[in-house]
């Protein structure tokens, strides 16, 4: 039967439009092929030219990022980036989004997001050692608002509220998948803002360790190599996932649920172990996972990188559903599937390894000379496409950009309009109890953050998680950060703040920040204001990464995060990787006995602050950009202080200002504090003002002179704030709270907001 003629019934829209292509792009395909494409071919172009696979709207902007450096072994372009750890080992890491699927089906969307990023890591030959996640949800207090949004109608139990349903589903999805595969989820961030109601963000980062001489690449080489498929069978789930995630949400988004994939973490665990064994036994020449755009993307990208042709036979693909068309097989995004290239003499060896893990080796075809991708089903040719036309010839757009008109008005903040708090202690307790700043234990206790016995327990719940590396003296530190509130006012500054904060976070844990990965989450790039945000953010990231010497080694772009024309805040998530000389240097935020010092030259400001948002319901002001010279001085001071054993705890001053930062340290250490804060023109600025370039450290009395000396050496500011100890949190001016109240504040916020109430 010729399945290509057996077209499913379709809506009035032409297929190219259904696939998210433009008329111009369709015409270009016809000219590249010299004929009209058939359905399967058009489907292949549709996914390969989607934003998700081709970065057609962002590639130009991203090309300016710094991607090289002394530590970088592999920059962008492979499954993941690789950084040198020591002479023998390397760290492989990347962040990716699974926003669109998570909006529709939070549990499976988040779970398969974890699965996808893990496969990127182990496809490089690296054993994953950690997961992190950056999550953004709507405002949990705006309950039920989703019902008024046509695009979201019916997507959740109408009686429950959308944010809680999403939070529960996403967290459980990440937990069930990561826990089962046995990769600890060690750090992350969870933020709430009304503009993520329709489009929650689920960005997942994975980190792995690979011997430097065994880094695997997804590059087909050796004509005559066999194309090996292993893992789960191919079904109809996830067809058009890549295309779907390159669209905005409108009414009828529910119809897209079939574009969400279903995860099987046990299969993932088996392909993880089998893949590492295949690479270790030198049984394969190239590996790529079948993620977005499935078989299509993996086969043509391998051929593209290897500058070869490829021929595959769809009759040999193991199928989960009956009567699947070539179009469906090529576009399926069924999870837990891997594609490898194996030279014929190694086939038996590879098959034996897969058999040990209860998997079959499926021989789909061959690496061919030339540059053609030929897809057959038995004797019938379903598609024949020049490989470069899918990858190198993919469209490259430069949409128009325009700075939003009302920006100056939003940047203005007149402090005279903001009344000073009468009771700063009450403000602090409210902030600590708010969804933005409350305890995250409800989330991270659902994640197995200890499996693998690599995680430094004391760094859990702190600025960055530290993981020791078995077989190395060194350790790695990781953190994910985004500063979307500041970015919503000034995208470029917001991006710089995110880079600076993530670098500061890993430095607080005792590591030198060495490289970063990023996830750009934005609205529809065809709107000039959105494209301007994207361009500004990438410019800011580029500048900050250059200044801090943390090149970008990979990442992902998620556009079209819009519902009914309302876009999310520009959200650039940075995943930072740091290296510690010794795992013993791992430093947490928990207060220890000693004196408290504020280091760095940063000045507090209420612009884009949490205090302004929570207490005065405003997002306004001009956020200050980091002073990169001072950021580097702070890093050096932290590293020298930690390595020299002077700094016993360190915490970045971030959301909620010094007051919240100190309260978090006190809460983690279960110990009181007595400090005098540096004077400011206003109490609220002194206590709750935010801004880059500030870190609080704990130093023992005997080491005071030494830390002062270090601050002089690295030319940054240092100021003694007070001391740790006692049963109260005392901050002058204005705060005196018993520790019992600090410990209770925010402890149950998430339970109250997100656990199902009553019997339902």
């Amino acid at each position: 039967m010729n399945a290509t003629q057996n077209k499913p019934t379709r809506a009035v829209k032409p297929l190219w439009q259904e696939l998210g292509l433009t008329r111009g792009e369709y015409d270009h395909i016809v000219s590249l092929l010299g004929r009209e494409p058939n359905e399967t071919e058009l489907g292949i172009y549709g996914v390969m030219w989607s934003e998700h696979c081709s970065y057609k709207n962002s590639r130009k902007l991203l090309s300016g990022l710094p991607t090289t450096g002394s530590h970088v072994l592999q920059g962008p372009g492979e499954n993941a980036g690789v950084i040198a750890l020591d002479e023998n080992l390397a760290v492989c890491f990347k962040i990716e989004s699974h926003n669109h699927p998570s909006a529709i089906e939070p549990y499976q969307g988040a779970a398969t997001g974890v699965g996808g990023i893990l496969r990127d890591i182990f496809a490089m030959g690296a054993r994953p050692i950690a997961l992190l996640d950056s999550l953004h949800f709507g405002d949990p207090h705006e309950r039920g608002k989703c019902r008024e949004r046509p695009g979201m109608a019916g997507s959740v139990d109408p009686e429950s509220d959308r944010v809680a349903t999403l939070v529960r589903g996403v967290v459980r999805g990440i937990a069930d998948y990561g826990n089962c595969v046995g990769i600890p989820t060690v750090a992350g961030e969870t933020r709430f803002d009304a503009n993520y109601l329709g489009n929650p963000l689920v960005n997942v980062m994975a980190v792995g360790i690979v011997p430097r001489d065994r880094i695997m690449r997804a590059r087909a080489s050796g004509i005559g190599g066999r194309v090996l498929y292993y893992g789960g069978p191919t079904g109809r789930d996830g067809i058009h996932g890549a295309t779907f995630s390159s669209e905005t949400f409108e009414e009828g988004v529910e119809d897209k649920r079939s574009a969400v994939q279903i995860g099987d973490p046990f299969m993932e665990k088996k392909i993880l172990e089998a893949t590492l064994e295949l690479i270790e036994s030198d049984a394969v020449d190239a590996i790529q996972d079948m993620g977005a755009a499935g078989l299509t993307c993996s086969s043509c990208e391998m051929a593209s990188r290897g500058e070869t042709g490829i021929e595959i036979d769809l009759a040999r693909v193991p199928l989960r559903a009956a009567r699947m068309s070539p179009y469906e097989i090529m576009l399926s995004e069924s999870q837990e599937r891997m594609l490898a290239v194996v030279s014929p003499e190694k086939w038996e060896k590879a098959a034996a390894i897969l058999a040990k893990w209860d998997m079959k080796a499926h021989d789909l075809g061959e690496i061919k000379p030339g540059r053609s991708m030929v897809v057959k089903r038995g004797d019938e040719i379903c598609a024949e496409i020049p490989v470069p036309s899918l990858t190198d010839a993919a469209p490259l757009n430069s949409p128009a950009m325009r700075e939003p008109d009302n920006r100056e008005a939003r940047l203005a903040l007149h402090l005279d309009d903001i009344p000073e708090p009468a009771d700063p202690g009450a403000v602090l307790l409210r902030l600590l109890d708010s969804p933005e700043l409350c305890s995250r234990a409800w989330i991270w206790e659902q994640y197995d953050h200890m499996v693998g016995t690599s995680t430094a327990l004391k760094t859990i719940g702190g600025d960055a998680a530290v993981l020791r590396v078995h077989g190395s003296e060194k350790a790695v530190a990781v953190s994910v950060d985004s500063c979307a509130r500041a970015a919503s006012l000034d995208p470029k500054t917001g991006a710089m703040l995110a880079v600076a904060e993530s670098a500061r976070n890993v430095a607080c844990s005792g590591a030198l920040p060495v490289a970063a990965t990023n996830c750009c989450n934005f609205g529809n790039p065809n709107r000039p204001e959105i494209y301007w945000q994207l361009a500004q953010s990438i410019e800011g990231m580029s500048e900050a990464c250059r200044a801090l010497d943390t090149p970008i080694t990979g990442g992902n772009v998620s556009l079209y995060n819009e519902t009914d024309g309302e876009a999310i805040s520009p959200t650039l998530t940075i995943g930072m990787l740091g290296i510690l000389d010794a795992s013993a240097h791992a430093t947490g935020i928990a207060l220890q006995a000693g004196n408290l010092f504020l280091i760095g030259s940063g000045a507090p400001s209420l612009a884009a602050s949490e205090y302004l948002y929570q207490e005065h319901h405003r997002i306004a002001g001009r956020p200050a950009a980091p002073d990169f010279a001072d950021e580097r001085a702070i890093q050096k001071l932290l590293l020298a202080g930690i390595q020299g054993g002077l700094i016993r705890a360190a915490h970045d001053v971030s959301l909620g200002g010094i007051a919240v930062t100190l309260a978090e340290m006190a809460r983690a250490g279960r110990m009181g504090i007595r400090v005098d804060l540096p004077g400011a023109e206003r109490t609220d600025v002194a206590l709750f003002g935010e801004g880059p370039g500030r870190v609080i450290v704990v130093v023992e009395e005997k080491d005071e002179e030494k830390i002062m000396e270090l601050a002089r050496k690295f030319a940054t500011e240092i100021r003694k704030l007070g001391e740790a100890g006692g049963g109260e949190l005392v901050m002058k001016p204005g705060i005196r709270i018993p520790m019992s109240e600090i410990l209770a504040a925010g402890r149950d916020t998430f339970t109250k907001l997100f656990e199902k109430r009553g019997s339902r």
Binding site: D264, K269, A456, K458
Partner: protein
């Protein structure tokens, strides 16, 4: 001593157990694949945590049919030591080497955190060393130990409750993290040579990962017993 760490498809604490026993405790350790049929030559067997066979159907329900489980039973019948941790405990229960069942946590959520345990037996082969209160991490979604009233009485009467969730005086801790009957965290078989427990001693053998090193006490107890046994055998032989 020679330890076997059994590896099922889906085990994920196998390497952690190997590292704790080999690198921290200095023992001779081998990973044993689930298709093996013999455990001869091993003094003790560890069934590690994880999600054997994805925990599909029911935790441990598929793993109990593995070839290696017959060998585990034979090893136990010979008087060899068997330690089941987390998923290993679930497998031992499914294999009827230990009584009761492990069901979903009362909170219906996976739970990963260090908890305090109280040692109920000071004279068992697994608990002789160390102190009465231990702080070990738990990491499970299905760790609520259940047994009927009669079974529970029997466990108590026979002194087979090894550990309960309980904090030392003056330390605050949620009463019962997963809702287990009698706050049970670990139990012994009638002969006392099989211990199943939900908490993870291998994660608390070093301060870096566990904050404390109380997990060593369990391994030290096993090693001390095996050393004594070997010495006694040598004595008889001489």
């Amino acid at each position: 001593m020679r330890f076997a760490v059994v590896v099922f498809p889906g085990s994920n604490c196998d390497k952690d157990c190997v590292r704790a026993l080999r690198d921290v405790m200095g023992q001779d350790v081998a990973e044993v694949w689930h298709t093996e049929t013999s455990l001869s030559g091993f003094d003790a067997v560890v069934l590690p945590g994880g999600f054997s066979y994805g925990d599909y159907l029911r935790c441990g329900a598929i793993a109990r049919f593995s070839k290696i489980m017959r060998a585990v039973k034979e090893h136990a019948d010979r008087g060899g030591l068997v330690l089941g941790i987390c998923n290993g405990f679930q497998i031992l229960v499914e294999a009827h080497l230990l009584p009761g069942a492990l069901i979903r946590n009362r909170s219906l959520k996976f739970m990963c955190r260090p908890v305090w345990l109280k040692r109920e037996r000071r004279d068992s082969l697994f608990t002789a060393r160390g102190e009465d209160f231990l702080r070990l991490p738990i990491a499970h979604g299905e760790g609520q130990y259940f047994i009927d009233a009669e079974g529970y009485r029997k466990l108590e009467d026979e002194g087979r409750i090894a550990y309960r969730y309980e904090a030392p005086p003056g330390i605050e801790q949620a009463e019962n993290p997963n809702g287990s009957v009698g706050r049970i965290a670990g139990i012994l078989n009638a002969k006392g040579n099989i211990l199943g427990m939900m908490p993870h001693p291998e994660r608390a053998c070093e301060e870096f990962t566990g904050g404390v090193t109380h997990g060593r006490w369990i391994f030290e107890s096993m090693i001390a017993h095996l050393t004594g046994e070997r010495a006694a055998r040598a004595g008889i032989a001489a």
